[in-house]
């Protein structure tokens, strides 16, 4: 049952990329002329324009291929994405190894334009293609005691030059609470701009949780486990003070090393102004109820 959520960032999905580029150039031109030199207000969110395919595919964090922003674009080509399978296990009715095709069977692929906010205080707008994670979880049957969903990225030293050095405790792992995973905004993305997911963006299938910092949206998933305990999360384990398990976008709770109150929007060029960061990355109406009664300065 797709379509639980209706896109508020509308754009004509047949608009060619060239038009986006032109619009971006207009915006850049206006900024250069000092017209758009003020900080954009949240009300302008409706006007959000997706970043270009080029920006989205050339500015990535995918440490398995290197820590530079352009390393994934350069080296992720080595990742074999066909065939691909996902092991789905733990507290599910139908555990097993599902081929990519079996995963996709019965899933309604939609396009969703989401804001994407990195914990490093930059952001993009991405037109993803994919399906709701809830649909997949319903397909495999979540057992009643399950409380969390754990995810794991592929770990292939032969194909991933970045894993030779222990930047993180490989393989990369992430997790969500079950209600977060079942939320209609949470999607499994298999493409962007209507094209198959580029390797550097997490081919062939990745998680997208738009109200959380980007590192929660784990890439190139090979395993999904339903569990009743809070799962291991790589960045959380590396530095719990800096990367909480929840990691909801929150302008009021700073990362210990930098402020999260504002963000730099990718694609604006050298002289772009910072924008204020929105609570839950602008999805407050949709997701705030998930955290009712929780002190968000503690549950970071």
């Amino acid at each position: 049952m797709a379509g639980r959520w209706k896109n508020d960032l509308t754009y004509n999905d047949v608009t060619p990329e060239a038009v986006f580029l032109n619009r971006r150039q207009l915006i850049a031109g206006a900024a250069a002329a000092g017209v758009a030199g003020t900080i954009a207000s949240p009300a302008m969110a409706e006007e959000l324009v997706p970043n270009s395919f080029e920006d989205i595919t050339n500015y990535c964090n995918f440490y398995e291929f290197g820590t530079g922003k352009d390393d994934p674009a350069r080296y992720a080509g080595a990742l074999t994405t066909q065939p691909w399978s996902i092991e789905i296990d733990g507290m599910v009715d139908n555990p097993g190894t599902y081929s990519f095709e079996q995963v996709m069977d019965g899933m309604a692929v939609e396009e969703r334009i989401y804001r994407f906010r990195c914990v490093e205080a930059w952001s993009m707008v991405v037109p993803w293609n994919g399906f709701e994670l809830a649909d997949l979880l319903e397909k495999v049957g979540v057992q009643s005691g399950a409380k969390y969903v754990a995810f794991e990225t592929a770990y292939r030293p032969d194909e991933m030059r970045g894993v030779a050095f222990p930047v993180l405790d490989w393989p990369y792992r992430e997790g969500l609470r079950l209600d977060e995973a079942m939320h209609p905004l949470t999607m499994m993305a298999t493409g962007l701009y209507g094209k198959p997911m580029p390797n550097q963006n997490g081919a062939p299938i990745r998680l997208v949780v738009p109200w959380k910092y980007g590192f929660k949206s784990i890439k190139s998933i090979v395993r999904i486990t339903l569990t009743d305990e809070e799962p291991f999360a790589s960045w959380n384990q590396a530095n719990p003070r800096e990367y909480g398990f929840y990691s909801n976008v929150n302008p009021e709770v700073d990362h210990p090393r930098w402020s999260q109150a504002t963000e730099r929007v990718i694609g604006g060029g050298l002289f772009a102004r910072r924008q204020p960061t929105l609570m839950f990355n602008g999805y407050e109406d949709e997701v705030a109820s998930l955290y009712e009664g929780m002190d968000l300065t503690k549950f970071i």
Binding site: N51, W122, V167, R257, S259, T262
Partner: protein, 204 residues
């Protein structure tokens, strides 16, 4: 030996002033690339990072000059001032990009400086280098006297370590590159330490 002689001979003939011009070309070129959208999707961070990295490389390079003469017989002493001044200029460019193009907001800048240890350390590094840059001229050497001037310029050791620690602290996860710079900085400073060679007391 022939190689060091050749280099020393060339160094004797070459003036030091072109180092300033050649050294500033990357700064202008990078800024041009950034302003014309040729530094990738996020030019500000690239510019900030590149200026900072060049500054650190120049600091490390400048500190390598004395050991090179001492252990390899390579005399590049006449270029040391230019390298030092350039490293300060790159730190200043790095700071300017951070202030004007990156953080932009004065209240955030002030908050960052006292709240974020890696930024505090970076700022201290800049302030340490400021008197060194201001006294990098013959007039100051005469005015201060060679001994005082030399002692003052030992602050470079602090600056290079602060710079490298700043780099290590701002990196996410466990990364090799900043650690190599820190190792180089510590190694070069360690070469300056006059180890106390007291005889080890013998027992019994």
């Amino acid at each position: 030996m022939i190689l060091t002689d050749t280099i020393n001979g060339a160094a004797r003939r070459l003036p030091a002033w072109p180092i300033y011009i050649v050294g500033l070309i990357p700064a202008g070129w990078l800024f041009y690339l950034g302003a014309t959208n040729q530094l990738g999707p996020e030019p500000v961070k690239v510019l900030e990072h590149e200026y900072g990295l060049i500054a650190l490389q120049l600091l490390v390079g400048g500190l390598a000059i004395t050991p090179l003469r001492k252990y390899a017989g390579l005399n590049l002493l006449k270029f040391r001032r230019a390298i030092g001044v350039l490293s300060f200029l790159y730190v200043a460019f790095h700071l300017l990009v951070w202030l004007v193009l990156d953080v932009q907001i004065l209240s955030e800048i002030i908050k960052d400086i006292y709240k974020r240890p890696y930024i505090t350390i970076g700022m201290v590094g800049f302030l340490v280098m400021l008197p060194l840059a201001l006294t990098s001229n013959n007039w100051s050497v005469r005015k201060l006297g060679a001994v005082t001037w030399r002692r003052l310029h030992q602050l470079t050791y602090g600056a290079v370590i602060l710079g490298a620690v700043h780099f290590v602290m701002l990196s996410k996860g466990f990364q090799l590159e900043p650690l190599l710079y820190l190792a180089a900085a510590l190694g070069l400073v360690a070469l300056r330490v006059k180890w106390n060679r007291r005889p080890v007391p013998q027992n019994g």
